[in-house]
Symmetry: C2
Subunit: 348 residues, 2 copies
């Protein structure tokens, strides 16, 4: 009875509790509304009041309560990165995360990682995010020409960016590496070294950049007059062991290739192992051009020819794109394509 309980109205500047708008209002002698507006530079607040409020806010280290903002406005200040837990490249995960965090570092945004596994429909995590309103923006990878996730997000009006392009006649932000150019450069480089029977280690079938890579490869082949040694049983998201044994089989055949173009560093390790399993020597019997995202391949074999793909940059670009869309920019203006470096031989 008559127990003193914490009641509305007793606002102490005593210290230990996190400051809220109410705290600021009490300290400045203003109303909560005024403080709120002063902090976001609303026009109807007097210049001096604005400065005063912002000063006090900085002094006591006021930080808006995310839950309050989110509940009231629906804005989560969260970007979600949707990742496949089985098929993403290790370096991709690490670099893209750092790229994203670099960009959102001086914004109120947090990055959440939303995983999905082989057994799930890739649409699941996206649907979850949209249905629960868990993010203001989404980044997806492993993009397909006809991508249900992109379609779904467009329909539901949530900003997103894709790593890789789609081909549905729909406009959305993306960042992509120019794999058409990569494959072409690789073929031309190999042709320049006299290689003319080339095999392609493709990206995962079904992803958009599979098509880009295959086309770049084919177009350059006919341009330089080289021929393709079919190697369709292999793609980069197979296991190291599979790639290795199939490469070894291929290299034991009479009509073996004298050059490889590989879309990923991990696969390249397996390719080289397979080549050597067959008793052949890299650089003498066969040349390999490979994409890589870190500087490791030249430590592995100096004879390798590499093209660098910068996933950290991809992460930054994707983050910038999503934030841009959230901020109201035209999605069509938030698309970027990264041009491959030249093919780089080892230099001590």
């Amino acid at each position: 009875m008559d127990r003193r309980v914490t009641k509305k109205g007793d606002d102490d500047a005593s210290g230990k509790e996190r400051p809220t708008l109410k705290t600021l209002a009490f300290m400045t002698g203003l109303g909560v509304t005024t403080v709120s507006r002063a902090l976001k530079d609303a026009p109807e607040i007097g210049a001096e009041t604005r400065r005063r409020v912002q000063l006090v806010a900085k002094q006591i280290g006021y930080r808006p309560n995310r839950a309050g903002v989110r509940l009231r406005t629906g804005k989560t200040n969260v970007i979600s990165l949707v990742l496949n837990t089985e098929h993403e490249l290790m370096s991709f995960v690490s670099d893209i995360i750092y790229g994203v965090t670099e960009v959102i570092a001086d914004t109120p945004y947090h990055l959440i990682v939303t995983p999905y596994s082989r057994s799930q429909d890739p649409l699941d995590p996206v649907r979850y995010l949209v249905e629960t309103g868990s993010a203001d923006g989404v980044i997806i990878s492993r993009t397909q020409p006809n991508d249900p996730r992109a379609r779904y997000m467009l329909e539901h009006g949530i900003p997103f960016a894709t790593h890789g392009r789609t081909d549905m006649g729909l406009v959305h932000p993306y960042h992509d590496f120019d794999n058409y150019a990569f494959a072409g450069e690789a073929v031309r480089y190999l042709a320049g070294r006299g290689r003319n029977r080339l095999a392609l280690v493709t990206p995962p079938v079904g992803l958009t950049y599979y098509g880009h890579t295959v086309n770049g490869f084919a177009d350059a082949l006919s341009e330089v007059g080289a021929s393709e040694v079919p190697f369709n049983t292999v793609s980069i998201d197979q296991s190291i062991e599979q790639i290795r044994t199939r490469t070894a089989q291929l290299m034991r055949r009479k009509d073996r290739p004298d050059g490889f173009v590989s879309s990923a560093a991990a696969a390249t390790l397996a390719i080289v192992a397979g080549i050597e399993d067959a008793g052949l020597k890299l650089g003498r019997d066969v040349d390999v051009v490979s994409k890589q995202s870190s500087e490791l391949l030249h430590l592995f074999r100096r004879e390798l020819l590499v093209v660098n793909e910068n996933f950290r940059l991809a992460g930054s670009e994707l983050a910038r794109a999503v934030l841009g869309w959230i901020g109201g920019k035209d999605p069509g203006s938030l698309q970027s394509l990264s041009t491959p470096s030249e093919v780089l031989p080892y230099r001590g």
Copy 2:
């Protein structure tokens, strides 16, 4: 005037809006409070009512609003993984994230990644998380014997787990790989192959497992009667180039080692490159035992001797530990140590 604005009370089952407790209350004819309690199996709700509410909730796909819960209770349902954007191993980032997400997949928890860079105090991100109440639990890596972050979080009562142990006489959950055992096994294995002048490529100086590794190395050296070739200028978070050139320098000396123990796969690549730069041959002139977290080293050089460290497991254990602490378990009971595999030579 008299404009009809959306008002309290008009609750439509019309469809497009996300269902809330109010929606459920309306549909079941119960009060919001009752619905809330029924959903969390509170004791004072009748068995049938409970079932009815839960059924309807499932039917219409009710999901509690995170912002509502968070605002009211302070519970964020967020775990934060704090990562250094420059020094973490690539494979570490990727695997630990997947390990964590695996465990939190069937919980309401989200994973946020909180980065910090070389230039920042490692305490900064942790302080941020605590001050803004952005997470219910935190996972940190690069743990030090006297770790200010762990101390800070203990003082502020936020549950956390560390990858690696501390040595401050304070109890908290951790997961660690037994690097003392690893270094010891490595030395014994090398000794078994007749190697007796060994160099250690250490973890970053200052981290707890630096000490564990160094001690395991030293103790096993004296146990087997081998000697150490000092290689203190190198640790695994140096650049590939630095490690490589310093290794080459070392290997050109008369008193060069005939065995290496390396704490990380990336460093091992550089070590091998350095060895070969000096004109020596792996397996003949020198043996290298290395930790690795993916199966790549044997593709790189068959002569390498490897010990596997499972970062995905680490992620899972750390997540389990944090959730356990959040759930009220005794932090002292949430510590785990992972025992290294034996040293594995290549087997075709």
